[in-house]
Subunit: 222 residues, 3 copies
């Protein structure tokens, strides 16, 4: 991925910016796992596993489905050390009040991650000659299945499936923007437009408190 | 799969019948996901994801285990649009009473799906030179893991594992019928016999209310 | 795996010992699945599935991630028959008091399994030229994800993630011992040292009742 972008934009600043956004996205996804793990009172191993699933689960599932290797965390194994250090630090040093602050604060880097994972997933799907709808779906899977695996392991119905605030829908929109833009523009431009679309629609959903329609049955089971 | 059958039976009617049964099976599996999602009050994204897991999860897991590509939903991406349309329609247009009707009605197309997925999974396992028991297991996985993934994501103990009405057992029986029949008959005949066996034993189990043995411990945890 | 070890130690006794330890480990992992399934009152199909996930889930996930075939249960399909027979026997013949006895008794063969799966997972990771931390992680995944899948399907937060008794941590330590020992010694020696480390630290944790640190939030959700 960084390689691809570097080919599209030989500019060093763009490459450096991309690394920065990628790091921000991974940290935001990992933090969402950390908070979920702490809420469930997991031990230090549990925190590391749930952080890893949240950060790398979506991209790894996408790569398994596309039969693509190496995984992100095999290519950049340093991130695994960051996760372990973060899990230990969370247990030893951080106070509860700081977690409450984090919960509200990570919505914004998480929206950045949504945009980045959407764009890179769709790009990889198209690069492997997938049908358009499947490529877009790969973007959605990259962006959302980390959170879904995090919630399944924490024994919750995944937020992405029941919280009516749009999330996967923003990734879906971003994926289609990639597909359209790739007809007229370079992959780098399509990447940026798709990421901005997904991130901006998510930010708008957070600010406007817009909700997707859902059904309420007469007799809910849960 | 359609190709294989078409080779065995060049007859156009058989090919058309197979497409019809396949469509029925996919729709039945997707509907079981839709009902589960509505019972859990998922939003429109959740409905689409749970429908997709129920319809394609078993076959996709089988293909990942057999290292086989492309997946069904990559070869036939039109089905993904059908799922999305069905999720939106379910939210907007359908009344609760219609869902209650559906719950009882889908048992029968679901039994058809059980037969079809069992036969095709066993056939694919044998085609990849798996040991016999593994090929039969691939049939069982194709037929049951969609429902298991659906229930795991909905935060329930999977019905297939605790509901004592035979389901996986019918797939297991159908798989062995395929293995035996393939010794004497064409793959097409074995396919049909296996599918009929799994579907018929399931229909018998539904009608007779037969239950598998289970243990009741003195102190159940749940 | 047996092949690799046999190359390292042509000695027949070692090969026979390895088969014995491997069988013990698989049986212990399967029994943990059996007990979990019985506690959730699963039917006979559920018992077999949960036993299979507990025994083979970790190794299969490792092989999917490493893109490695055949799986253990494809190479040794006889184990699948053992699982099915065990599930049926558990339903028909075994009394509750025997299960309560089993629960305490399997901790020790389970610790053996932890050691064996850790060593073989790390060995396979290194054999595929994975970065060191990833190879160690493959050992941890082999040893722990069977139990995690077992608990997810049984609708529980996985024991490995919240029980503060060290388990994954012992696998992690054993993996690093493999990596270090492989610098100076034969793969066979590294294998034995790694397995002993993971098993011994686990046994020590069980005997000493040592607990990992965890956080307790002011307002737990569960």
């Amino acid at each position: 991925m960084p390689t691809m972008l570097r080919m599209a934009h030989p500019d060093l600043i763009v490459s450096w910016l991309h690394t920065l956004v990628e790091a921000t996205a991974n940290v935001a996804f990992a933090l969402s796992g950390l908070l979920a793990g702490i809420r469930k009172q997991l031990d230090v191993v549990g925190l590391c596993v749930v952080m890893g699933l949240a950060a790398f689960g979506g991209g790894t599932l996408r790569d398994v489905l596309l039969d693509r290797r190496p995984f992100f965390w095999v290519e950049h194994p340093g991130w695994l050390w960051v996760l372990i250090a973060a899990g230990i630090a969370a247990i030893l040093f951080v106070r509860s009040s700081q977690f409450e602050f984090t919960e509200r604060a990570i919505q914004w880097p998480d929206a950045l991650g949504l945009g980045l994972f959407t764009a890179s997933g769709t790009q990889l799907g198209l690069a492997q000659d997938m049908p358009t709808i499947v490529a877009v779906l790969m973007g959605v899977v990259s962006a959302t299945f980390g959170g879904i695996l995090r919630d399944v392991v924490c024994n919750e119905i995944p937020t992405a499936l029941r919280d009516r605030r749009p999330y996967a829908v923003c990734a879906f929109a971003g994926g289609w923007v990639y597909v359209l833009a790739a007809q007229f523009a370079t992959p780098g431009t399509a990447f940026v437009l798709a990421a901005i679309t997904a991130t901006a629609t998510r930010a708008w959903a957070l600010l406007s408190r817009y909700e997707l329609p859902a059904r309420h049955t007469a007799k809910p089971t849960e």
